[in-house]
Subunit: 376 residues, 2 copies
């Protein structure tokens, strides 16, 4: 997608291409980040670019633990945290640690398209389940799908690509269901919560911590979105302090961080994010962009579930063939992603973490295509 | 090892532990690095922490290509280079790209202990071959070991753990042998050259570029050692411009960089190393450390092949049981690594990328143990 956009920009000029295809935040990192980085670079710590423990600096892990304790009301310690190369690195480390060949991992469509690669990397089998019309997991489908080979369920809320935020009640019932199935099959089932967008949530909603609803839970996340640092590959794994065999699990994470060749999360970023655990980019700005785009799309006749978090929306494709529809938009230099890339054909993803000029400029294309297909 | 050292330091005090067990350079990065980082942080580029192409910034790849062209006399372009999360990330990306399950990868003992994990990560089978008494690959053993399932040969010169540097003639004959076997079995065999220590080479020796001796060659490396940035995870993959199916191969690297969860080499470091391709830490300082330690160990009666590069030496263990010997040294708070960790029992690795105080302090322990085993 990156490359496609580049080609179009070269052909038509930067200002005539409206690239809503990638989750690459246009916002700069918060000023606290720039200040922290500058302070560190001007007063370098001795050895601050050297190797550290594969788990990451204890001071950074302690800062993450303190913030999670605050957010969840559960007491986390440095030993519950492993710093990772982004959420992608974190998820690969977790899957490598827990999966045996043939183990099943359940995901809910629409889902972040790389999950299937990650599960496959470590010999697992992805089992894709549907969500309801608001993109919330269907628990009856989950109940029917869990087998003795189920090792983990991955959830992602706020969701990429739908922007859906799961209510506390959904997570609570999900946890109950997992424990019921665990005792039915005498297995352990991990709830892996991908929280890359945890801090980007709208309408005054609060994120319900999964940790409160299932002890066998593992959170993976990154600072790619909350601090707008996607290129820096800094994130972490947090495991529930009461998870069974927690110590063994964390030892596995540390080993796999090394054995998979990540080695450690980038050192300089570990130093900087240490003091930024409570800092987030301007969510209000993203909410404004959401409101702008959502309002216009709905007015044009697109069918969209209003996203409550992240910076994507996932409208229904006016054509059954979402790939064909995305090509229609592309004719107007508006770049989006077909829903089938997320396991949900018949939709398309619009990323609105772009500048206002791009958002505004895209409207003409959306309008033309809406008219072509008689949406209103 | 990191953790063991920490425990001993807590028990006996920092100044009484002589940790020669890890390759974590004590030197700070060159002043050009600190200046470049400072300049960038004080004058940030717009979007400099965002995602870029999975292959890395074209400008950084172009700088790497230019430097390699200079060093090898072969013309590299931006399309021959993929930026990676250190040499470890680079090697995993290469192996994921080229290996089918059951494919054989040949390594020469002693070798960097993580190779086996990396090969195993991607379904390959490591085949370990011996080296001669100076740690140089035995080509007759290689000739006998290559089968129709051989997909790659990994070499690592300057070598971790032995410090051996392969002469141009060895690499030349290695290339000839690979081509002979390629045509015998009608297969392609990649020569993967791990050059993490390429710039750290002593006695006025020059590194002979593998690229000149085999077109099916891939170099993986990092700036962990030449710029003393091991914690920052910045390195690259370079493929011979005339490698067959080069384009397909590089597309595979880019895909695997993403699919393995590395996504891209850390952005900020890509910006900084762009202008530092010709810069290296003080090799003279490492050579001084080598001369100091080598001189003393030989005088005490240890049997050591004088290393010509990297910052390790690999003496014979006075006890047949290298693990037992390493424990003897540990009794004097001198930390080293048993040779069996590198596929070569009967030796032990000493890392001398440490401060002079640690090197000097370790001598008493080496001496005591040498006396105990009547080395002189």
């Amino acid at each position: 997608m990156f490359e496609e956009g580049s080609i179009l920009r070269q052909r038509y000029g930067e200002e005539n291409v409206f690239d809503l295809s990638i989750g690459n935040p246009v916002m700069e990192p918060p000023v606290e980040f720039s200040q922290g980085l500058k302070r560190l670079v001007e007063n370098p710590l001795p050895g601050m670019h050297r190797y550290m423990e594969n788990a990451g600096y204890p001071e950074t892990r302690a800062a993450v633990a303190a913030q999670l304790s605050l957010e969840t009301g559960i007491k986390f310690s440095v030993n519950d945290i492993v710093m990772a190369c982004g959420a992608a690195g974190a998820l690969n480390v977790v899957l490598k640690t827990i999966l045996n060949p043939g183990d099943e991992v359940i995901v809910f469509a629409p889902y972040f398209m790389e999950y299937e690669n990650y599960i496959d990397n470590h010999g697992g089998v992805a089992k894709v389940l549907p969500t309801d019309e608001r993109f919330i997991p269907k628990l009856d489908a989950l109940e029917a799908a869990i087998t003795a080979k189920t090792k983990a369920v991955i959830i992602n809320s706020p969701n990429n690509p739908s922007g859906a935020v799961y209510a506390e009640d959904v997570i609570h019932r999900l946890g109950e269901l997992l424990r019921k199935k665990e005792s039915q099959y005498r297995i352990g089932i991990f709830l892996i919560s991908d929280e890359a967008y945890r801090k980007i949530i709208y309408d005054g909603l609060r994120y319900p911590p999964v940790f409160r609803h299932h002890p066998q839970s593992i959170v993976i996340t990154s600072h790619s979105k909350d601090l707008a640092l996607p290129g820096e590959r800094i994130g972490y794994i947090a495991v529930h302090p009461n998870c069974s065999r927690r110590e063994e699990l964390v030892d596995g994470f540390i080993f796999c961080n090394r054995a998979l060749g990540y080695v450690n999360a980038p050192a300089l970023m570990q130093h900087v994010v240490r003091s930024l655990q409570h800092v987030t980019v301007s969510v209000a700005e993203y909410q404004k962009k959401r409101d702008f785009l959502y309002g216009h799309l709905v007015e044009m006749g697109y069918s969209v579930v209003k996203p409550q978090g992240a910076f994507y929306m996932f409208p229904k494709s006016p054509l059954e063939e979402d790939v064909a529809f995305v090509k229609e938009l592309q004719q107007w230099n508006v770049l989006t992603v077909p829903g089938r890339g997320f396991g949900s054909p018949g939709y398309f993803r619009v990323s609105y973490c772009v500048d206002d000029r791009t958002l505004e400029g895209s409207l003409a294309g959306f309008k033309k295509v809406a008219q072509k297909f008689n949406l209103c």
